[in-house]
Each structure stands twice: as structure tokens, then as C-alpha cells.
């Protein structure tokens, strides 16, 4: 296992079972370990445990909502630049690197890059559209701990999210990867169209060999930062229905342990309207659910090698090479964390605040021009509605 000492104890990445564990000082001592300098360090911000690394901005898919605005003539950083970024992540104690872009499988050196990450103690994972995923390219993916294929549903459901029908290619990719023994999952973007067909989409993905589905909130970044966002995002009733939907899907799809269901950080605020979850928020913490960790446990690195709070946020001037020290000192990253530390109502009194951390700042910035409580969170909607009624 790989131990990273923190002021509160330690993060531990296990190797015999796929898990990352936060353990307090007493527990760390019980393992015979001592945090030493880290336990006497006055630092307030820790380095990320997960980094999303754009290994290219080249992609021919042309998804209408691409957050990176990736294009066929995009940038492909040299392998040496990627390895330097991995060096910086190693220095910072990063546990997981997610390769993305752009379409990462257009690189010929993916297998080498995955091995380079592993050699540095970093677990490599990857997201792909599955377009053009030949057997040769599948072979390059064997070194990754997991590969997720973007799959929002069959036929017209896929097309409604991405603007073209790439469902068949994605389905073939899932099958090929599963047949090759790669641990494969799917990323499902939730829009008002895809949400309605979610169960069928997950059934289909599982039948093709996917072992996990990660549900993603549609976000207004890149080509999706337009008025069209308002017509594609989940409706208010759909957002409120998410917790019960997750409960039902978990009971029917995951009980045998052969399939896992994940949600992304931006969907966490929608859990605030569920009485059972809000009534026992410590359970969210215990089972490792993370809300907005932009500039915290998460960082993104652009194709130009600049650090961003997350993949959807503008890059800072911080070079990835300076990640270990700069993650704490960079003023832009610090501002993202500062808001989380002292949010206004209704986040300040929200039972799941410690996990949610105020919801998606990218959504808030797009809709309201600044960091603030996530305007699509049911709790925020109700709070503002009550204040509006009181003012009348």
C-alpha cells in the first residue's frame, strides 16, 4: 500500500484491493506508522489525490457538448511532456491519473504512458469515446486499471446528448474491451433526454460487459457553455428524483456485486433533498463520496501543462511541474477552496455540506457569473423560493 501522510492522519492507497482509505492519526499509529513532519506542518491545503490529465485535445467525434472543445487538429503533447507531468504528480503524492482529452486512444504511446504512471506509483485510468477503437488500440489499454467508454444510451438517446449517433461504436468498444479482459465501465451523461432512459442504458451497458457506470451531470463548459445548456440540463423534478432513482438502480443492478454505480461530484448536491441521506450525512463521508473537490482532492492538467481546479474550469498559470508546492500557494486554487470553507446559506446549514461543498462551481459561474450555491440544487431552489415568497 502507498501511504500519504496528511495533517489529520493519512491517505492510503491499497494494492490488493482497489480502494483509497482515509485513516486518522490514531489508526495510522496503530499501523506502526508515524506522519512525522506532516503531522506538525502548518499547511492548510493538501495536494490532489486524483488528477485528470488531458493527453491530447485532438478528437474527431465532434460531440456537441464537449467540455474541452476538442477538434481533429488538436494538440498532442510529446511523450516527454506527459512523463514530466507524471513526475510532478509523483512528487505531489497523487494516487490516480485519469487520461482524457480529446480522444486519448489516438496516441500511439498510451501503453508506455500507462506503464510510466504505474512506475511512479500512480494508478492510470482512461476515458474514451470508443470511436475507432481497433484491436491494436485495445491492446494498448491493457495496462490501465480501468477504461470508461462514453455511452449515454442506445441510438437516438446517444445522439440527443452528443449530436451524432455514436452508440454502436461505443457498444462495440465496450464489448471489445471486456473481451480483452480490460476492466471496463461507462460514463453516462445525464440530460433530460438520457435520464428518462437511464435504466435501459445501464441494462444495455451491463449486458455488453461493462462492470461499472458513472453518471455525470451535464455541465456548461466548452461547447456546452451556451443557451442550449438550459434545454439539455436535468429538469427540477428529475434532479429531485435522482436519489430515489439511484436507490432503485443500486438495488436492482448492484446487489450481486458484479456491477457498480457511481455518481460524479456535480450530482452530489441533488442528494440534499433525500431525507434518509440528509439524516445520516456521516454515511456519505464513510463511504468516500466526494462532492466538489476542485482545487482540493482533485486537479486537472491541460494539454499545455497548466493546472486547473477541475477539467471544466479555466486553467491557472500554475505549471504542472510545480504541482506539489503550487497547489497550496496558487491564489486562484486557494480562492476555490476558500469559498468552500465559508459558504453562505443555504449551504452553510446544509447537512451534507461537508461532502457536497456547495455543489458545482462551474454551473454556478455559468448561470450566475460567480461562485455561489449551486443554483440547480433542490435545497438552494427551495431556499430562494421561500425568500422570494417572503419578499412579496
Amino acid at each position: 500500500m502507498i501511504v500519504r501522510y496528511e495533517s489529520w492522519g493519512a491517505w492510503v492507497k491499497l494494492e490488493s484491493t482497489a480502494a483509497i482509505v482515509a485513516i486518522d492519526r490514531e489508526g495510522t499509529r496503530a499501523l506502526g506508522l508515524d506522519g512525522g513532519e506532516a503531522w506538525h506542518d502548518a499547511r492548510t491545503a493538501s495536494a490532489p489525490i486524483e488528477v485528470h490529465l488531458a493527453v491530447t485535445s485532438r478528437c474527431g467525434a465532434g460531440c456537441s457538448g464537449c467540455y474541452l472543445d476538442a477538434r481533429p487538429d488538436g494538440v498532442v503533447p510529446p511523450r516527454a511532456a506527459i512523463e514530466e507531468a507524471l513526475d510532478a504528480m509523483q512528487d505531489a503524492g497523487v494516487f490516480t491519473v485519469a487520461f482524457g482529452g480529446g480522444e486519448p486512444t489516438t496516441r500511439d504511446d498510451l501503453a508506455e504512458l500507462a506503464e510510466a504512471a504505474r512506475a511512479r506509483g500512480i494508478t492510470p485510468v482512461l476515458t474514451t469515446s470508443g470511436l475507432g477503437l481497433t484491436d491494436v488500440r485495445v491492446e494498448r489499454l491493457r495496462a490501465f486499471a480501468q477504461v470508461n467508454v462514453s455511452y449515454d444510451g442506445a441510438g437516438e438517446t446517444y445522439a440527443s446528448v452528443r449530436g451524432f449517433d455514436g452508440a454502436e461504436a461505443a457498444e462495440r468498444a465496450i464489448e471489445r474491451l471486456a473481451a480483452a479482459g480490460v476492466h471496463v465501465g461507462v460514463n453516462v451523461v445525464l440530460t433530460r433526454d438520457s435520464f428518462a432512459r437511464l435504466r435501459a442504458t445501464l441494462d444495455r451497458a451491463r449486458g455488453l460487459g461493462a462492470r461499472e457506470a458513472q453518471l455525470l451531470r451535464y455541465k456548461p463548459a466548452g461547447r456546452a457553455a451556451s443557451l442550449d445548456y438550459l434545454a439539455r440540463r436535468l429538469t427540477g423534478p428529475q434532479a429531485r428524483a435522482l436519489p430515489e432513482t439511484l436507490r432503485r438502480l443500486s438495488a436492482s443492478l448492484c446487489e450481486d456485486g458484479g456491477f457498480r454505480l457511481r455518481i460524479d461530484c456535480a450530482l452530489v448536491p441533488f442528494l440534499s433533498c433525500d431525507e434518509e441521506i440528509a439524516g445520516d450525512p456521516a454515511r456519505l463521508t464513510r463511504f468516500g463520496v466526494l462532492g466538489c473537490e476542485a482545487a482540493g482532492a482533485l486537479a486537472a492538467v491541460t494539454v499545455e501543462g497548466r493546472v486547473a481546479p477541475c477539467s471544466f474550469a479555466p486553467a491557472t498559470t500554475l505549471a504542472c511541474a510545480a504541482l506539489a508546492r503550487g497547489h497550496e500557494d496558487d491564489p486562484v486554487l486557494a480562492r476555490w477552496r476558500d469559498w468552500v470553507d465559508a459558504p453562505p446559506e443555504p449551504c452553510a446549514s446544509c447537512p451534507i455540506r461537508a461532502t457536497c461543498k456547495g455543489g458545482c462551481k462551474v454551473v454556478a459561474s455559468f448561470l450566475e457569473g460567480a461562485h455561489g450555491p449551486d443554483p440547480e440544487c433542490p435545497r438552494v431552489v427551495d431556499f430562494r423560493s421561500t425568500r422570494s415568497d417572503a419578499a412579496v
Binding site: 500500500m1 502507498i2 500519504r4 501522510y5 496528511e6 492522519g9 492507497k13 491499497l14 494494492e15 490488493s16 482497489a18 480502494a19 482509505v21 486518522d24 489508526g27 496503530a30 499501523l31 506502526g32 508515524d34 506522519g35 512525522g36 506532516a38 467540455y67 509523483q90 512528487d91 505531489a92 503524492g93 494516487f95 482529452g101 486519448p104 506509483g121 494508478t123 486499471a145 480501468q146 470508461n148 476492466h183 465501465g185 458513472q214 455525470l216 436507490r247 438502480l249 443500486s250 438495488a251 446487489e255 457498480r260 454505480l261 457511481r262 455518481i263 460524479d264 456535480a266 454515511r283 464513510r286 463511504f287 468516500g288 463520496v289 466526494l290 482532492a297 482533485l298 477541475c310 477539467s311
Partner: protein, 74 residues
């Protein structure tokens, strides 16, 4: 990883579970936002206990390497 020296197997008498603050299961593979396993949240207490039991067993048995700039010694 700045120090990959293996350490001696540990003898742990204290119950570890109460000192585990959070467990993030699996790797996830999304390159644009952090994912968290959610099905365990809705699972029975027995399933949750099994997750923690597996983690404790691994903590007790795996060799230790120290990562990052902060931890330059065991």
C-alpha cells in the same frame, strides 16, 4: 513514490475500523469529474461491514511505501 522500502509486517491489536474515516472503493475512470461509488450507500449493513473488513485486512497485510513530498520517512 519517494520511499519504497518495505517495512516489517505489522502486529495490530487495536480495532482499526473506528479509525477509518472514509473508504473510496474502486478506481473509477472518468477524466472530467470525480466519481464516487454510490451503491454501497444504499446497501445493507452487512455489505458495508464486508467492505470495511476487506480494507482492514489489506491494511494489516500490505507492505508500506510512502508517497509524496510530505512523507519522506516511515
Amino acid at each position: 513514490v519517494s520511499d519504497d522500502r518495505p517495512v516489517e509486517p505489522r502486529t495490530i491489536e487495536e480495532p482499526l475500523t473506528e479509525h477509518i474515516e472514509r473508504v473510496r472503493v474502486g478506481h473509477g475512470a472518468n477524466c472530467s469529474s470525480v466519481g464516487s461509488v454510490i451503491d454501497t450507500l444504499f446497501a445493507t449493513a452487512a455489505v458495508g461491514a464486508a467492505v470495511f473488513a476487506a480494507v482492514v485486512a489489506a491494511l494489516k497485510s500490505e507492505e508500506v511505501r510512502v508517497a509524496g513530498r510530505r512523507g519522506d520517512k516511515k
